[in-house]
Every structure is written in structure tokens, then in C-alpha cells.
Subunit: 112 residues, 2 copies
DNA sequence: TACCGTTATGTTCATGCAAATATAACGAAT
DNA sequence: ATTCGTTATATTTGCATGAACATAACGGTA
């Protein structure tokens, strides 16, 4: 059994977490379902937790990441802003590159 | 206020954590003080927690990382093995490189 | 107006993790 | 044999995080 390197990266703004893997998953689910409650169900987390995460994201970000509407046709919904999309894409890109980087570094402990 | 990228890396062995930043700090403190209890004090963690960490490290590693002696002159002590030193150095190296790597990636969100 | 599905928010309960405390085991030195 | 400082281990207490449940607010539609 050989050693493995694991990693986690996240983006902070003023010492508050803005984006991590979980939040990005949630944002993608919102984009797919068009609603926060459906996104929460698809990720098997409570609506409340999902709402808290999105609230934290929007409070930490410089510009709104989602637009949430209450009431109306279908009861309301949520969707990503263009800015939110940019953040998600940037995070995904950086995260993927980080994996590749650590895959190279793995050589340094292969012999141990 | 600009966004920052934070990261954490750790080495796993068979789905058990072997080394992370905290464990590396502890191992270095052991090397400096020659004892687990002194190392725990210097890091402001309880002896029990320190012991559990070291126990986990030694159980996860392929070869012993520390040698702990009970009783005798001075009551006993703990020291790093050469293998432990290699692991610590490898972790530090990879971790430092990871910081530098992410510092480059930071450009991708500077504009956001 | 009544309904509907959603966002938004509060409250209680459980569960796991950390902290604190206590104590046993050990072996060299005196 | 006693002392000493350390490693090793168990038990309890407290706290923080999340799960579960309940409910209000909203605004289009019929």
C-alpha cells in the first residue's frame, strides 16, 4: 500500500470562506435545477444548510453569486449570476491544476 | 480586500491520515525537545492529544516515525527516526511548493 | 381570496470531537 | 525501596456542529 497526497483548497475573502468544494457543488446543482431546495435534495443536505452556505457565499463575495426570488410562478427559485459562474469556473480550474501538481509531487514520497 | 487561496495537504496511508501540518509541527517539536510531553506543552495541546496523534502516525506509517521510551533517566523520552525525518522533510518540501504553485494560480482570480 | 412551492428563519435534539481530570506503568538513579 | 518525569490509558465534561422539525413570508396563478 503506497502513500497518497490529499488536498483541499478554498477561496477566502476577509477571513471568511467564500468557495470550497462543497459550495461549488451546491452552486452547480442550483444552476442545474433552478432552485435551492431542489439543489439541496440532489446533494442530500438539508435546505437550511444549503441556504446558510449560499447566504455565506453571497455575503463573502464582492458581487452577488446567486439571485434568489421568493414567491411567484413555481414559488420562486435561484440561479447563478455571470459573476457566480466565473468564480465556479475559476475554482474548478485551479482545483484541477492543483491535483495535477500534487500528482507530480507524489514522486517525492514514492520511495518512502 | 482581495480574495485569497488557502490550502491544506496531507499524506494518507490506506485511508488513514499519516501526516498533516499539525502532525508535522508536533514531530518537529519532539525533535527539538526530546520528549512528547514537552512537545505537547510547546504546542499548547494536551499530552493526550499529542500521544494520540503520534500513535496514529506510527500506526499509519510503513516504518516507525518516532521511538518512545518509558521510564529510566529523565523518565523517558521520544525522538524521531531517520525515516521520520525523511517524511517530515518530504512533507515540508511538497507543502512549500504547493504554496508557490497556488500563488501563481492566484492570478486567475485577481480580476474577479 | 385561496393555493402552491419556494425562500427565509427559529428551535430543539443528537452526536461527535476536544478539553479536563485522574491514574497506572515504567525503568534508571539515588 | 523510593523518587522522579515520562509514556500510556480510561473516564467524564463541555462545546460546537449538524440533523430534524416547525413555521413565517412571499408573489404569481386560478
Amino acid at each position: 500500500m503506497s502513500y497518497k497526497i490529499k488536498s483541499r483548497i478554498w477561496i477566502e475573502s476577509d477571513n471568511n470562506v467564500l468557495l470550497g468544494e462543497g459550495r461549488v457543488h451546491l452552486l452547480k446543482a442550483i444552476q442545474e435545477t433552478g432552485s435551492l431546495s431542489k439543489a439541496a435534495k440532489s446533494l442530500n443536505i438539508s435546505y437550511k444548510k444549503a441556504w446558510q452556505l449560499i447566504d455565506s457565499v453571497n455575503k463573502s463575495a464582492k458581487k452577488p453569486v446567486t439571485i434568489n426570488s421568493i414567491g411567484g410562478k413555481g414559488g420562486g427559485g435561484a440561479e447563478l449570476t455571470d459573476y457566480g459562474l466565473s468564480l465556479v469556473n475559476a475554482f474548478d480550474d485551479i482545483n484541477k491544476n492543483c491535483w495535477e501538481f500534487l500528482d507530480q509531487q507524489l514522486e517525492k514520497i514514492k520511495l518512502l
